[in-house]
Symmetry: C2
Subunit: 308 residues, 2 copies
């Protein structure tokens, strides 16, 4: 593929950043990949994995002269990165991010961006429960959505170019306003993670059932939650702190519904339970039909289970 | 393998019953398999799948003369099955079940059992979100736990024989008292299913985010819950109604913890969030190390995802 950019700077080289690096290299999307991360140890890992052409712990020197800068850090670090890179940005550069919350990232970064660059907030809906440079892989974004939440005055050409970049990685691109993005993600991603963290915490705290029993018998349902609850703690702490309002709104709805379900169990309202349990089955079917999950029982785990 | 039993009767031929039938046939564990289910349509499906040697809608005539009777029905139907089969049971027969709640099944069935048979309540911790005879498969129980909750006066020889049966199917057998079983299952299985049903219901009810958005972006976390929430509604209604006390206890603990987590989010207590999110990650690791889940990111779905 013709390189889309001369120089791409990746600020942050965890699961997402390192997956981008692998795809950019594989697809030849840039002449040069510059990698920056605060931690010298992580940078050394990235270098050992040969993820880029140049490596630096300075975000500013990575951003200096880059045509596309992709910020892939926990959302709480967005402002600090913006402050560091702003003076080094070259006119016409495209700056994007991959953060899971968008209103907060815009509030943190936009005020620091020079007039002559294109800041386009973005969010690839992709990832796994693993983290760090070695957890990334080429193809992570294939078939996944990437949501842009462009500011009102965004340059159309820059937007088209960034879209072309994500489409080259195999993503489907959507646009949304940042507030709506944050509400959508609160229900499809943030609430599920918080609930998963919570139930795993509850199980860990019980006195009547031991932790080893929970682990031993986890295949009967519990283990499904542990995957999300194994996600990167720093990333998820920041998501909770930076999408607070939407998350609290969804949590309130969830708790209200749970109280009602609890009451139905207490009073033996079988019909009400049956109605809910039937309705939710339909949604699973729609997700599989929409190609958003695999159409095999147990996420296809049985084949792998057999190898134990 | 030498047949362990002359005649095995399977009462109920859904996911579990039909998986047992396939294994019994494949492993040659019985001379004859008799299949019974209330619904003529389901029975016809079982026959079309050639799951047994004889088929009947009468539980009594299936049980008549059988050496091992396995009851695989929603737990709420246990008493009705016990009443039907009791008069037909042959002396020395072993009667077991596969129900997800044990105290209730014992209360429903034990009083109807004749003195000269061996009633051994059991629970294989295996299954998928699919249901019905066509959803079963040979190997479902391989490497999975099967928990017996024997009554105090259980015949040791009958117990050993039933253990031999489940071990032949590849299961590991544990024994537990029924009350403890119900508490353990409430946390490792019942609560996860209820929470999954609830969150999928909440998402379905929102006004600010459409159902099609929830489906479209579900891969960012939500889809993990939809698998459990697609489980058989009748089975799960009955579980909720028949393990009420343990479930309400676990729900109370979960809600208490969630309220505390919600408060930490509201007040921006990042350290508290980080501590929980780190602790839960360790539990995932223990589950993978215990061989209770696959050691690949995203349940190994990425390989299948690519085929979309």
């Amino acid at each position: 593929m013709e390189p889309l950019f001369n120089r791409i700077a990746l600020i942050g080289i965890g699961l997402i950043g390192s997956s981008i690096a692998r795809d950019v290299r594989k697809l030849g999307l840039a002449q040069e990949i510059v990698i920056s991360t605060r931690s010298a140890a992580t940078l050394a890992q990235a270098e050992a994995l040969k993820l880029g052409d140049r490596y630096t712990t300075s975000a500013a020197s990575a951003a200096d002269g880059a045509d596309l800068i992709i910020v892939s850090v926990p959302v709480g670090a967005s402002e600090s990165v913006a402050v560091q890179i702003a003076p080094a940005l070259k006119p016409g550069a495209i700056i994007t991010d991959v953060g899971s919350t968008k209103a907060s990232v815009i509030a943190q970064m936009a005020p620091h961006m020079p007039q002559d660059v294109h800041f386009i907030p973005g969010h690839p809906l992709a990832g796994t429960e693993k983290s760090g440079p070695e957890a990334g892989f080429s193809g992570l974004f294939k078939g996944r959505w990437c949501i842009f939440t462009p500011l009102p005055d965004t340059n159309a050409e820059a937007l088209a170019k960034l879209r072309q970049f994500w489409e080259a990685l195999g993503s489907k691109v959507d646009e949304m306003d940042p507030q709506h993005h944050d509400k959508v993600l609160a229900i499809v991603s943030h609430l599920p993670h918080i609930i998963a963290y919570n139930i795993v915490g509850t199980a860990d705290d019980l006195e009547t059932v031991t932790e080893s029993e929970v682990i031993k018998y986890s295949a009967s349902g519990f283990r499904d939650f542990t995957r999300l609850a194994a996600s990167d703690p720093t990333m998820w702490r920041d998501v909770c702190l930076h999408n607070k309002d939407a998350i609290l709104e969804m949590l309130a709805r969830f708790s209200e519904d749970l109280a009602s379900l609890q009451r139905a169990i207490r009073w033996g309202e079988g019909d009400k339970l049956f109605e809910l349990f039937t309705r939710t089955r339909t949604i699973r079917r729609s997700i599989v039909e929409a190609g958003q999950d695999v159409d095999v029982p147990d996420f296809g785990r049985h084949a792998l289970d057999d190898k134990r």
